[in-house]
Each structure stands twice: as C-alpha cells, then as structure tokens.
C-alpha cells in the first residue's frame, strides 16, 4: 500500500499497521500476546531467546515475531501447532538450567518465566542431570545483586547498558552453555541507570538490593506517581507494603522517559518512610526549643504575625507540586499582596522569565520528542547525566539513533562530549559568546552543522552565577534560527513554580507582575538587613541550597521570624519559629510539571506521618486564618481554580488520556483497549482483549495468568501521556524590543575581551521589558490575562526595585555589597597570573552530582553511600603551575571559608575550577559570595 500502511492477518484477524513495524508489537496491540523474553520495545531486537517464533505463511521456518517487520498480505498464526511446539520447546530449554528457587526469589509472582511456565510448561522436567551452577547472589554494585543461575541470557541488561545507557559495565563472558552475564573484575556495575536492568530482567537474575526479600509482589499496593527529584519527571509506580513504600519502578511513557528512570529516582524513595520525617507542627518556645503543638495553635501564631507584618518574603522549594506552587503564589500575591516570592535557590541566577522573550512561555517551547526529530541540538548547561539523567538518555538516543548533530557548549567536559559533533570549550561565562558565535555564524566549521529543525537546550549550571547573558544569547539563537527552546530547570517542581507565578516578576501563566518583587537573593538580603518582618520557607532549605552561604547565615542571624513547611528538620528548619510538617510525593495527590511543561499526576499511596499535610493545604489554611477563604477542600478544587485562573492551563483536563484519579490499571481486570490517540496506528481486531491478570486476586490462576509482566503494565502505562498546556497567544509580530539582537556582522570586535567579559552592552530588554508597558506584557494584560490573575498584583510599582537591587545598564541587577559581574570577570582576566605565594584565584564553576547531600537523597539509605566526597577539579596546566597533581590535597578558600579538597585533573577551561555543589562533608555554597564567585586554590 502506498500510504505506508500494510494489511496483514494475525490469527484470522485482519489488521492494518504501519509498514516496518515489528510483528510482535502489532500483534500485541491487537491483543495477541506473543511470549518473549529478549524482546523489549525500548531496545533493538536481537531475537536470541527464540520464544516468539510464529508461523508466517510462505516461510519455511518459523520466524521470530520480534525481528520480523510486518508486510502487506502477511498471514501470521501465533498459535499454530508448530509455533506452540517451538514456544513450549524453548521454555523447556530455558528451564533445564533454571533453578527452581522461586520460593526465595523476589521475582516470583511477577516473573515472565514463571508466568509462561504456568501457561505453557509441563508439570515436570525431562531433564534429570545436574543443573548448571554458579555462585549465587553476587553483589555487583551497591544497588544490584546478580544471580547467574537464574539468568536466561536474554541480553536485556547487556543491551540496555550498551545501547541505552552507554556504560557497558555489565557484559556477557564466556560462550556456549557457559555464557554468563557478569561485570568486569574489580569493576562494579557503576552506572546511574543500573536499576533499569533489574526492572527489565525477565527472571530474578538481577535483583534490587534494597528490595531484596522485602515483599512478595502480591502483597504490594501500588500507585502511579512521578519522580520528585529532577525536572524530567519520569512517571513511576510506587509500591508499598504495610503502608511503607518499598519499591519504585519506571512507568513507561514514550514521550518522557521511554522505559527508563535513573537510579536516584528508582531507589530514592526511602526518605518517604524515614523516621526523621516531621510529623506534627512545632513552635519555638521562649526557651528556644521546639515544642510539638496543634495545627490550630501553630496557625494562630503564624497568622497573628502575618496580620501585623508589612514586609513579607516567601521562598518556596522546587520539589513542590504545581498545586503547591499555585497556593504559594496565591498566598503571596493575592492574600498577602507581595511579589517578594521566589522558588529559585540553586538556580538563583537563572532568569527563566527571559525565555518568554521568545514565545511568551517562560519555559520550553520544545518537547522531549522534538529532540528526536531535530537535525541539530545545541546544549548549553550543566552535565545532564548528573542533573537530569533521563534527559541525557533522550539526548543520547536522539544523537546515536536518530542522527541529530549535537553541539555542546561547556566550560568543562561533560558526559555529552563523548557523543557530540562539536564541543565548544569556553571559559566560565563565555557560553554566551560561544552561542552568539553559532547565531551569527562566526565559527563556520560549527555553524555549518546548525541545521533545521534545531532545538536549543539551556539549563542553569553553576549555582549562584548570573545566567542572564547566556539566556539572552540562547534566546537570540533560537529566534534567529527559528528553533525550539528546551529550558531545563533543575527540579521536579521548578517549572510548575514558574508556571504558577512563584516568581517576583511573573504571575501565573507567565503574565508579567504589575510590580517587580524581590527574588530569593533580595529576600535574603532584606532579612540580613533587618528589613523583613517574616520569612516563609515552603519546602525550601536555603542553608543547604542557596549559593551564598554567608548571606544565608546573615539572613537567619538577623532573627527574622521564620515559618517553615518541610519534610525534614533541615538546617533551615532549625532557624524557624514555626514549623509545619509536609506530606511527601508518595502520600498525596498532585501534579508535577516537567521541563517540557508536561503535567503528570501523582496518586497517594501511603499516609503521611502524623498530621503532615500538603503545602497547598497549609497555604490555604494560613489564608483562611487571615480571613481569605479559598474554599479548597481537595485537590480537585485547586485544579478547578487553576484552570479557571491560569490562561495557559485553561484546557488542561486531568481526566483526559488516562489521567483521572484511579488505581493503576493492573490492579483491576480491565480488558485491553487500544488507545485511538496513541501515535501508532493499529485498528483493533474483533474481540481483542488480554487475558485477565492474576494480580487482581492473591492466588494464582494457573493457565490464566499471563501476560502480566512489566511489559504489559508498561503498555497500559503508555496510555498516560500527560498534557502539555497550550502556550498563551503569540505576542504581536514585528515590533520586537525584547530580542537581544546584535546587528548581523557586528561580532563585538575584540575577541580577547569577548572571552571573559560579560556583555554589558546587551540591548535593553530582558527582564526590564517584562515589567510593564512592552508589547509583550500588554498583549497578556489586555487580551489574555483573566482579571482574577491580574488582580493579584499590587498595583503601582511602589517597590519595584528594592533598595538593594538596582538595575545595571545591562538590565542585570547589580547588587550593592557584592562585586559586580563585570568586576569579577575583569579580575579573572587581568589579575592573573599571580603566583607569588603559590596560590591563585580561580573562577568557581560548580554543579550538582547525581548523588549528593540533598535533603531527600541523604535520607535514602540505598543512595547515601554512593555520594562521592567533595573534590576540586582543575585544568592540568593550572594544576601544574600550582604544583598539584591528581589525588593531591589542595586548600580551597573563598568568602572567608577554607577547605581541603582532593584534586582531580579534568578537561576544564583554564582559570576555572569545578567543585561539586553539595557533597557529604562540605557544602560548596559556603565559599560562594555573590554572583560569579572566585575562589583561591593553593598547595596546603
């Protein structure tokens, strides 16, 4: 057929399918499950287990359905006598060397091999010889246990490691019947993605160390959820036994995570059931101790303070849900009538609002799927493998499978360098100039590869530094090349915060606030100066996260009255006067908005400890205490209001596409129904339906218990695509004061100066344009913005700029008391080298590693030990001049703080050092002072 469709017959049913699709997938969508072990829809077929052999008319041999593309007129019989004989024979082969230790195997009850055996296998074995044996239960990493006897050599783990993760720590060794999956000697399975191999293992050969012997699958209750760590927002199922989350697995969503999740997301659930969780409201007594109290009393204390407070600052954490964000925004801007509200801590220097200059969206205009159809991807940001691991997988797939060209702009070597077409190694802060080079084609070798479609990715990298010039350059590139922009904020709730207006200059739906409030730094500076009456920390821990440890200390040192809503007694909570316990992501209904602005739903699984509650509810009760009754009783009320109030979210319908609140489909018997909205086209055959699953009831029903493995769950889960809210209307075309647009052919002259000095001549615009009066803002104000949203903002810019913050000529605020960015750069450029005392100043480039000392990870037993000790990474030449080599100790100082760190040599721009932001034992924010910090390094 000419339209790329073919018609074939499977077990007597005519099916239409796109050509080149695999028979096994087409059959599955028809409701015909062909048994398989090695096939996995997320990876290339290898056809080694031979379980999926089916009869195809005209073929002499049986064909593996997993490696046979459908063709027009194909006649397939999956239950042909010969095919069934082959399938049963294969099962017998697989079982001869498979130990019958199901009673002590974690996989029993959800094991494809077990399920198939119940369905097809004989009751006893014809194999009477001794089975192949290996040493059992090898711990091949801190998270994964390997039992080679159970392995059926399907290669899934090996293929995943090579093909998907790109770190082949697990491999096949030996040959024939002696073939084993194994790690290399002395080389553990040290991958950020190792847990996926456990989930895709079709037997109990790869086991989760934290989950081992913890539960039987039929004793688990589960609920769909979304990872609470990074901004990719991988869908998950949380599974609990006896009201305690004991396991977490990836839910496939081909739009987001394919089938994968990183180990932080997979194993990072322990914190939910940590003994250290806050369980009741606390108030500080006169004796300076916390006292557990009732919600009523705690709320009274807070509302009492708020009633008289004039100067209020609110900092929200970026691990909160979209509803929490809306509640914080509403509490601040409507009830308390302040715009001094922000959610940016580690990303304090990231002006997301400037991304709106491109399309009115302070966030991504690209989706993750756009990466795969891109011809070129430009990456300007941190190492995605450390910060947004599954985004790294998507980028890797786009480059290696889909052939996109990748241009990486980074001051230091990151994981993407290995697959990049071009790596532009710039100085710290030189990213903007490098991106301009792409925009205007200065670097012809690279610019030639900037193709269309182009996706430009930016994420804030070094905490604390001013990302403004970089954002402007990235936006200019995207505008100039008609590209899509992928904004990559760090955390699960980051985008929701921006969308809902937890931002000093944006109201919900990217509507510019009428007045510009203080950002996180401004709020802390106000506190430090004694100019704040009350500080609300909602899921925020500035002590750990804000990239200026000294400022945070001064802020709390001022004795500002502080209210904290938190999961744990963090160091910031220790400064609080009133504390409310917060519910964690597995304990609540809610949504996260990921970095492509996709909204995905969380379902509650366990009960929160004590009287802990959702932050939105706490905000609502504070407002109620102040006489502003929001009328919210539950999640749905919040969503209804968000839809009514926030223009971008007006059409988001959570009941659409399987997003309604319901238990995960495998827990009740639902006949399979192909999803007409699913991207692939297969018309359902008559009577298509899966056999019923055994997990609906505890006991097995022999012969009726397949297919039930993860593949099926995954398949159903793929019908939960999430929703990306529509953009607000486009700003009027033509007049465009927002774009920082250097004239073409005017590459700002002096190259040497370009390398380090930020562009102080950035055309006026940027955030200044968002304040008022520009075409962009007026478009929202007059046409799109509902009055309720607009009504939130205080009118009249009585404190548009706080005394501490005055706009520099670049539009980048200069902070009094802090060195200006320009000065910092000049000092780097001009005052080096000064080796007189064997020490030297370096530009500090920091960034998070995947396993760090974050509040949630550090309360997660399985991951705590994986966090590396802090280190300092230096360019080899710089290290040589300082007399330092790999493994030495170096003295690092800044902001009056010193630390001894291990030296690592790395591919990093000269004159810069990389120090991980938050590793156990020492926090890098203690040596950060101001934006664009400088540190000294010397031999101890």
């Amino acid at each position: 057929m000419s339209d790329g469709k073919v018609t074939l017959t499977i077990n007597g049913h005519d099916v239409e399918a796109e050509e080149n699709r695999l028979l096994i997938d087409v059959a599955e969508e028809l409701g015909v499950y062909v048994p398989r072990f090695c096939y996995h829809p997320g990876m290339k077929s290898v056809a080694v287990c031979r379980m999926c052999l089916v009869k195809v008319e005209g073929s002499r041999k049986l064909l593996p359905a997993c490696a046979t593309p459908v063709t027009d007129g194909m006649v397939v019989d999956t239950v042909d006598e010969e095919a069934v004989d082959a399938q049963e024979g294969m099962l017998e082969f697989l079982l001869i060397n498979h130990p019958l230790d199901c009673p002590i195997c974690d996989r029993a009850g959800e094991c494809p091999l077990q399920d198939q055996t119940y369905k097809h296998g004989p009751g006893s074995s014809r194999y009477i010889e001794p089975k192949r044996t290996y040493e059992k239960a090898l711990e091949i990493s801190d998270l994964v246990v390997l039992d080679r006897e159970r392995c059926v050599l399907c290669w899934r783990c090996v293929r995943f490691s090579e093909e998907i993760a790109g770190d082949a720590f697990i491999q096949l060794i030996d040959r024939g019947a002696g073939t084993q999956v194994l790690t290399f000697k002395d080389d553990p399975f040290d991958s950020y993605f190792s847990g996926n191999t456990i989930q895709i293992c079709p037997v109990g050969a790869l086991l989760s160390k934290p989950y081992r012997f913890v539960s039987r699958p039929w004793d688990l209750t589960s609920a769909p959820s979304v990872c609470s760590y990074c901004a990719v927002g991988c869908p998950l199922t949380n599974e609990a036994r006896a009201e305690k989350v004991v396991r977490c697995q990836a839910l496939p969503n081909e739009n987001v995570n394919d089938f994968w999740v990183c180990d932080k997301g997979r194993f990072g659930y322990h914190y939910v059931s940590s003994e250290e969780r806050l369980a009741s409201p606390l108030v500080r007594t006169d004796a300076d101790e916390f006292e557990a109290t009732s919600w009523g009393r705690a709320l009274d204390v807070v509302t009492g303070r708020l009633r008289t407070a004039r100067r209020i600052g609110i900092i929200a954490g970026a691990h909160l849900t979209t509803e929490d964000a809306y509640a914080v925004s509403k509490l601040a801007k409507k009830t308390l009538r302040t715009s001094d509200v922000d959610s940016r801590l580690q990303d304090a220097g990231a002006p997301y609002e400037r991304a709106a200059a491109l399309s009115g969206v302070a966030g991504s205009t690209a989706t993750l799927n756009d990466l795969e159809s891109a011809r070129t991807i430009v990456w300007v940001g941190p190492d995605p493998k450390e910060v947004l691991p599954v985004l790294y997988l998507r980028l890797r797939k786009s480059v290696l499978e889909e052939g996109a060209k990748l241009i990486v702009v980074s001051p230091r070597r990151i994981s993407l360098d290995a697959i990049a077409t071009h790596v532009i190694r710039c100085d710290v802060g030189g990213e903007a100039e490098a991106v301009d080079g792409l925009t205007w084609g200065f670097d012809t070798a690279v610019a030639g590869d900037v193709g269309d479609p182009l996706v430009v990715c930016w994420g804030p990298s070094s905490p604390g530094r001013d990302e403004g010039p970089i954002v402007d350059a990235v936006v200019a590139l995207a505008r100039n090349k008609n590209a899509k922009l992928l904004v990559c904020p760090p955390h699960a709730g980051s985008q929701g915060m921006i969308d809902m207006g937890v931002h000093p200059s944006l109201d919900p739906g990217y509507t510019p606030s009428d007045s510009r409030g203080k950002d996180t730094r401004g709020i802390l500076q106000a506190a430090a100066a004694g100019e704040l009456d009350i500080l609300l920390l909602i899921g925020a821990d500035p002590v750990a996260d804000f990239p200026d440890g000294g400022l945070v200390a001064r802020a709390f040192g001022s004795g500002v009255f502080t209210v904290a809503v938190e999961l744990f007694p963090t160091e910031s909570v220790a400064h609080a006067d009133v504390v409310f316990p917060s519910a964690a992501y597995a304990e609540r209904e809610g949504t996260f908005t990921n970095l492509e602005r996709r909204i995905q739903k969380l379902e509650p699984l366990t009960a929160p400890p004590g009287s802990a509650s959702e932050p939105w509810r706490i905000c609502s009760r504070i407002a109620h205490g102040l006489g502003d009754d929001w009328g919210w009783a539950g999640f749905n009320d919040v969503w209804t209001e968000i839809r009514a109030t926030v223009p971008t979210h007006a059409h988001v319908d959570l009941t659409w596409a399987g997003q309604e609140s319901r238990p995960l489909s495998l827990h009740y018997e639902s006949p399979f129904q192909p999803d007409p909205t699913h991207g692939r086209s297969v018309s359902a055959g008559p009577g298509a339906g899966y056999p019923k699953g055994h997990r609906s009831g505890a006991p097995f029903h022999t012969g009726q218990n397949w297919p039930l493995s993860w593949e099926l769950r995954g398949f159903e889960a793929r019908q939960r695509p999430g929703i990306i809210p529509s953009r607000p209307p486009e700003p009027p075309a033509g007049d465009d004061p927002v774009s920082p647009a250097p004239a073409p052919g005017a590459p700002a002259g002096d190259d040497a100066a370009l390398r380090l000095i930020p562009r102080t001549d950035t055309p006026a615009g940027g955030d200044a344009s968002l304040r008022s009066g520009t075409p962009l803002s007026s478009a929202f104000a007059s046409e799109a913005s509902p009055s309720s949203a607009k009504g939130w903002s205080r009118t009249g810019g009585e404190d548009g700029d706080s005394p501490e913050v005055k706009a520099g000529k670049s539009g980048v605020p200069e902070r009094s008391g802090e060195s200006s960015p320009a000065a910092t750069w000049h000092s780097v450029e001009d005052e080096f080298p000064s080796f007189s005392e064997g020490r030297r100043s370096f530009v500090l480039y920091t960034g998070r590693l995947l396993y760090d000392e974050g509040a949630m990870v550090s309360k997660t037993v399985a991951l705590k030990s994986l966090a590396r000790r802090p280190f300092v990474e230096l360019n080899e030449e710089d290290a040589k001049e300082l007399g330092l080599s790999e493994g030495d100790e170096a003295l690092v100082g800044g902001n009056g703080v010193r630390a001894t760190l291990e030296v690592r040599l790395g591919d990093i721009a000269r004159g810069a050092v990389f120090i991980p932001y938050d590793q156990p034992g020492w926090r890098a924010n203690s040596i950060i002072r101001g934006v664009n910090p400088v540190v000294e390094v010397r031999h101890p």
């Binding site: 056809a47 080694v48 041999k61 060397n97 040959r175 019947a177």
Partner: protein, 461 residues
C-alpha cells in the same frame, strides 16, 4: 580407476617443494587470471562470467557465487571483500592446505572478486590455529605488494587494492559469515541478525562479499579459461571440480580434487580404500554437520547428496568402519557443537548441552529407553529454530546418528554399557581437532596433522 582432476590443487601437487613462493607461482602462470581481470575485463564482464559458470560457494552452503556478488549495491562505497579462511568444520582441511601451499592463488582470486564488485580493500579472516598458513599468507601478501600485484594501481591499471590478514582467536562460530564480521570488527564472535545481509550491510556496515578460500582460489582459472571451460566438469547445477578432504578408516587420507558428481565409491577408491579391507559402516559426506550415509553409492554433488538426505557441505568426507561406536561418534560430534555453540540463542546453547548429557549417559550405560525420543525432541527444538545454522547443523548430525543407528543406541541402553568397549568417560569437546573424531577407536589421520605449527608431511596420495 578413478582419477583426480587437478585445477585448484595443480600447482601445489606438482611443486610440493615451493608451490607457495612467488617465483614458482609466476613460473606456473600465476596472476595471469588476475591481470586479465583487472587489465582486460570490465567488472560487469567478470560478474557475468562467474554467474554463467554456475560456480557455487565451496564453504558449505553452495550458494552461487555470481548471484551473491550481484546483491552488492553498485552505488555504495566503500565495499569490502572478506575471505572466510576460518575453516573449522570437523573433517575438513582443504582451505588450510590451500592457504599453506598456494596462498598466491587465493590472493589472485581476491583481486578478481574485488574487481568484480568494486572493492578496494579485502580482509582474510584466517583461522587462529593456522599458524603456518598465516605465515605463508603474510609472506605472500608482502611479496605481492612488492611485485605490484597489490597496492596502488595494480598491474599498471587505475585499480587500487589492499589486503589485510586477520587471525581469529579460535572459535568455530566465526566461520559463520556474520559472526566472522563481528569478530573481524573486534566484537564478540556471534552471528548477526539478518536481514540486512552482508552483501548490503556487512563489515563496518558497508556492502561486503564474503567468499570461501576454495571458491576464490577457483576464480583465476575460471577467468583465464572461461565459464565454458569450467563447465566441462561437474553437473549442470554443480559445475566444476571440488576438493574433498578424506579421512577416517581409509588407507590414504588426504585432499582430493575431483569433478562434482564423482561417486563416493570412486573417492574412496582414490583414497586407497578402507583399511584392512573392511566395509564402510557410516560416512559423513560433508563435514560433521552433514547427516550420515551408509552407502557409497551416491554422486558427490549438491543435488544428489541432498536427495540422499545429506549434504555436500564443506566436502569433509569421513569414512568409518564397523569398529566405530556410533553413539560415541554422535557424542563426540555433539560435544564439538556444544563446545562451539556461541551461547547467543536458547535452542543451540541449551539443546547441545542437554544432548551431550543424554549421549554421555547412553554411551556409559546409564541410558533409558525414552532417551532416544528425547534426543530427537531436542533435535526438533534446535532445527530451524536456532539463530544461525550452527544449531541446525548440531541437530542434523545428532538426528542422523540416532535415526540411522537407533539399534546401536538401543543396544547400549539394553546392555547398560558400550558394546564397543567404549573407554572411560572423557569430555573431549575441549580438544576436538580438525576432524572432531579420533576418540571412537578411529585411527583417522588427516593428511595435514592438527599440530599446525610444523610443516606437514607432503600429502601426495
């Protein structure tokens, strides 16, 4: 009296003392075929000539060489020619002798093949154990470069051609062409999923022609003399001559080149007949994978052997007399396949492992009546269901052993011991050599002993 027809083996048989040297090769018409192919003939003509000659691959599958070449797309470059010199089929030792004694003839054939398909680079994948052969090939390549037969603008033409010699690491599976390619690329030697076939996407993802050593060694003569000349021997569908490696209980085990279609009885006669005047009880006609024959009344060509229920295969012919225990023979052959199974697919990996266990039990008197049917079931589980032909081959050898000599198997079970006085239980798989035999009381001595690093005895029949 049956006679050999020496085409490919002519030089090595007539000049046993120096047939591998460039001087001797040049004195005996060497490189004339290659020169003609490069200087006088267009690539299409070469392909046409080979196609009309009906030359079929000598490695085992018997696929028409000209047709194989025609699958190579013209408009993709680079293209490669790869020589499958990984001769590992038990009972077969012809390519080894060709490599050791007439390496230039192979290089000449490679030039012709490369010219025909438009490749400028070729690889010889040499079996790891071929120590002498790889040295001779290496020297021949150096000499050919020196003489201007390889390198830039060979024979004064504008055709550039380079050859790389690569030694394998000792795995039978690497004789399977796609596993060979993986091994050549530096990966684990395991067969690839097909399609795409190597002719379209082979070495390093480029179009690749993979031919057997004997096939390529035939080309210089074919090109020099034409397809009509070639067709004077053999049958309509199996034209030309073919080298048969004869071993087992014969008086003169060696490589014999005869026209295809020659009868098995004539080949036996050429090899001096059975030792001690005995009769052959079982014959492997085409390497260990080929099902057993019990009669010599069959013509040695692709069609006739297929009709007889076996196959021509690689031309490794093993004669066994009545002193041979067929259970032990089946065990030894199956152990070979178990040892050489790459482990990639379930049926071959587990099926050969299981079959060896069962065969060991029968041979050592612990067999059960149901074991013969079990073995046939295992064969059914492997045959046609394995990833590559290795599993198929294992099942053919095993099935033919059980089916053809079922009475012997049953005798083992009934008597609870080996009626041939089978020796102690040994696992021979690890040291199975060129024939895969040698444990069944057979005094098989192939012409070229498997102690490969020494100069073999001249194998003049």
């Amino acid at each position: 009296m049956a006679e050999e027809v020496r085409v490919v083996t002519k030089r090595m048989r007539e000049h046993t003392e120096d047939s591998w040297t460039l001087q001797r090769v040049l004195d005996t018409g060497g490189y004339d075929g290659a020169r003609k192919a490069v200087v006088e003939m267009a690539p299409e003509e070469l392909g046409g000539e080979v196609k009309s000659s009906g030359l079929r691959g000598r490695g085992g599958a018997g696929f028409p060489t000209g047709v194989k070449w025609s699958f190579v797309p013209a408009d993709v470059s680079p293209k490669y020619v790869v020589v499958n010199h990984d001769e590992g089929e038990p009972g077969t030792f012809k390519d080894r002798e060709l490599g050791e004694r007439d390496p230039h003839q192979l290089l000449e054939g490679m030039i012709i093949a490369a010219r025909a398909v438009g490749a400028n680079k070729a690889f010889i994948y040499c079996r790891g154990e071929f120590a002498l052969g790889s040295r001779r090939l290496d020297q021949a390549i150096r000499d050919a470069y020196g003489a201007g037969f390889l390198g830039e603008g060979i024979f004064g033409s504008d055709f550039d051609f380079d050859i790389v010699l690569h030694r394998g690491a000792g795995a039978y599976i690497c004789g399977e062409e796609s596993a060979l390619l993986d091994s050549l690329e530096g990966f684990r030697g395991q067969p690839r999923l097909r399609p795409p076939f190597p002719a379209v996407k082979g070495l390093y993802g480029q179009p690749t022609v993979i031919n057997n050593t004997e096939t390529l060694s035939t080309l210089p003569h074919l090109i020099l003399n034409g397809s009509e000349w070639f067709r004077q021997w053999g049958t309509e569908k199996s034209p030309g001559t073919k080298i048969f490696s004869v071993s087992g209980h014969v008086n003169r085990p060696a490589n014999y080149e005869v026209p295809l279609g020659t009868s098995l009885a004539d080949l036996l006669e050429l090899a001096g007949g059975m030792q001690n005047g005995k009769e052959p009880k079982a014959i492997i006609p085409g390497g260990a994978s080929a099902p057993l024959l019990t009669s010599t009344d069959v013509a040695l060509d692709f069609e006739s052997l297929q009709e007889a229920g076996s196959m021509l295969g690689s031309g490794g012919v093993v004669f066994m007399d009545e002193t041979t225990c067929m259970v032990r023979n089946t065990l030894v052959t199956t152990e070979f396949f178990e040892h050489e199974s790459c482990g990639k697919c379930t049926p071959c990996r587990e099926g050969t492992w299981w079959a060896v266990k069962v065969l060991e039990r029968i041979e050592h008197g612990d067999g059960r009546q149901e074991d013969m049917d079990l073995l046939l079931d295992i064969c059914n589980g492997m045959d046609g269901r394995s990833f590559c032909p290795l599993g198929d081959a294992a099942s053919w050898a095993l099935r033919s052993g059980v089916k053809t000599f079922r009475d012997e198997f049953e005798q083992h079970v009934a008597e609870g011991s080996c009626p041939f006085g089978g020796g102690e239980r040994v696992h021979v798989g690890a040291r199975v050599g060129a024939t895969g035999l040698g444990e069944a009381g057979i005094t098989s001595q192939p012409a070229a002993g498997i102690d490969a690093d020494s100069e073999p005895e001249a194998a003049q029949p």
